[in-house]
Symmetry: C2
Subunit: 376 residues, 2 copies
């Protein structure tokens, strides 16, 4: 059942008894000053969680006395402007690298932690994760998945968000499979719907890649491996038309960043309007509770924590600028994923779908029953 090490207690089927998170405490814009308070608060609300805190020991001294907590020293820190080269070749004792290593299975199939969380440099995180963990059989490229709020007051999971450009139709299918595993594990939705991001102009209904991806997805849906809704457009992300929206990393990254930009502009405009003159300021006082509730509802910190999918180990990425509240949300998401066996679910779905796929679409391949040693 467990990914790496035997459960240390009586497990509810489908859940693990104890969840171990390795945290890169040095990553992100603020390092231990935000990661440590987030970890402390997380431990208090998750009695079945254990943390492995990775970083410079003197920076993590405050956590020495915490329960269910181990400190693992790492002398280097990967900075936000370090090249991938530096992260891979030169900073071999970085907190990022040591934290990821905690989820790598050893020769006995056991790993020290179930999931790794870092707010560090995305490029370095992805490169080190690929290098240290390798991809699952049947996955060509890992993907980054995040959640965005939608009009139904639920989450829309969008992937890929920047790990891959120039994706093939097969990659988009793999993203759909991994996204489905993520949503069914974390949101508890058994058959999440998948939309393929496309454009609505009649003149051209997407590129050849998108058309082929649509065929592969329809095919997978007919075989019962996916709940494929069909094409969706950019506005469907926030409408919540489907649980999952699949796109290549370039498009996903632009959609996410554009949304962040629009939200920042609107927030800025609202502030300006409510401070324009005395009447506006008084109106702001009256409207404050309403505006606060609105703000908390769309607070991007609540959506922090993107999953790196397709690796032989679970890795979650926090926004680099996260504060303690946001970083704790990333820890929560990582915990939920590990507790609900995300790794094994992704593996199983990929195996099922590749075994059933026609050879022209990249399958069937010889997928071993347990390629990642997940079920050992």
């Amino acid at each position: 059942m467990s990914a790496g090490r035997p459960p240390s207690g009586t497990a509810v089927p489908g859940e693990r008894a104890l969840v171990r998170l390795a945290v890169d405490c040095m990553g992100g814009d603020h390092g231990p000053s935000i990661t440590l308070p987030a970890c402390k608060s997380f431990l208090e609300t998750h009695p079945d969680a254990e943390l492995i805190l990775v970083g410079r020991p003197q920076a993590l001294a405050a956590a020495e006395a915490w329960p269910r907590c181990t400190i693992v020293g790492a002398a280097d820190v990967v900075e936000s402007d370090d090249s991938i080269e530096t992260a891979l070749r030169r900073k071999k004792d970085s907190s990022l690298r040591v934290a990821i290593s905690q989820v790598r299975a050893g020769e006995d199939g056991a790993a020290a932690a179930d999931v790794c969380v870092s707010a560090g440099n995305t490029g370095a995180l992805m490169a080190l994760s690929r290098y240290l963990l390798k991809t699952l059989d049947g996955i060509d490229r890992p993907a980054i998945a995040t959640v965005l709020p939608n009009e139904r007051d639920r989450f829309t999971t969008v992937l890929d968000l920047g790990a891959n450009v120039d994706c093939s139709a097969e990659h988009l299918l793999q993203f759909a499979v991994m996204g489905s595993a993520l949503v069914s594990a974390v949101e508890g939705c058994e058959s999440p719907s998948v939309g393929l991001l496309n454009i609505g102009e009649e003149a051209i209904k997407g590129s050849d890649t998108i058309k082929k991806a649509g065929e592969l997805l329809r095919d997978a849906a007919e075989r019962g491996h996916l709940n494929f809704f069909g094409n969706v457009e950019g506005n469907d992300i926030f409408k919540g038309t489907t649980d999952i929206v699949v796109c290549d990393g370039f498009v996903g990254n632009v959609a996410l960043k554009t949304s962040e930009g629009l939200a920042a502009m609107l927030s800025d405009f609202i502030k300006q309007e409510f401070t324009r003159n005395l009447y506006c300021k008084l109106a702001a006082l009256v409207a404050l509770p309403v505006l606060r509730h609105f703000k908390s509802r769309v607070d991007h910190r609540r959506y922090n924590g993107a999953a790196l999918l397709g690796l032989r180990g679970l890795v979650f990425k926090s926004h680099g600028s996260a504060d303690a509240f946001a970083f704790e949300h990333a820890l929560n998401r990582a915990y939920d994923a590990a507790k609900h066996q995300l790794l094994a679910r992704v593996h199983d779905r990929i195996r099922d779908i590749l075994t059933a796929m026609p050879e022209t679409a990249g399958g069937p391949r010889a997928v071993p029953a347990d390629p990642a040693g997940l079920l050992a």
Copy 2:
């Protein structure tokens, strides 16, 4: 000076004396019930404009007595769900087709109108425009450009927005040139800055196409043909980092639709919050003037009117769901473009840049001094 017909009065250099707009009055979700009031209001505020109203004569009877106004009959209407095939081959007397024909230069180089405006089916509008007007020399594909608001309380012009998928680096360069001509004509900004939409992940800085487009743009900037800022990300659209953001049609369409979706969700949430209970409703009353001012500032109707660039004639596209206020804004934008010689400016810029470009980048080509007969 004039694109098609001689000016009928004394022209200020760079401006035309009388601007003639051909309006497809039947297009869009609401047809004449919104296009006619918009035209009436437009005529009142633009004493140097003439309108050619195209559609079923009985539907346009109300406009018969208007000054500076001609009605041109067209029996068919292209519906929003009509195929391009239908629009091109079967509805040969559609208001859309007849309106576009008004800007096509005759054998004498003169056209009946300077610019055409329609709220009809985008695919049909683009296909008919390409078929009837042809592209300018040096332009492989027309592009759709629109404006979005930004934090600097100005406009960001984004193109392409859905006319082209799978663009080459040369296409992106052409979009940059056309966008620069548009902004310098309509916004009166002599050397507008151009950003190339890219992604910020360190792991991969865009596809090969984007990298090559960056080189072409830098090259054009060094020769003084463009003001190239460099790469921008999705959030820069609303930050207003550059005057123009260039991307392929798929990415641009997704960015635009995603923004529309987010704006709709936030607007919906604000409404919900201000009606949740009695206190919230009272707060809404107090905050109403502030909220109204905010709303007018981000009112998407003010940004209505996308330009189809790269054709031998000016065509503007209104949103299909536009109301009279929004449609009038599209008329205003079309008027500004025609008045400030957008067609001639695009032509000149394209000629200059192609003449100067190294052969490997698609140029130099034999560009006649006046390929479109613009300056006749």
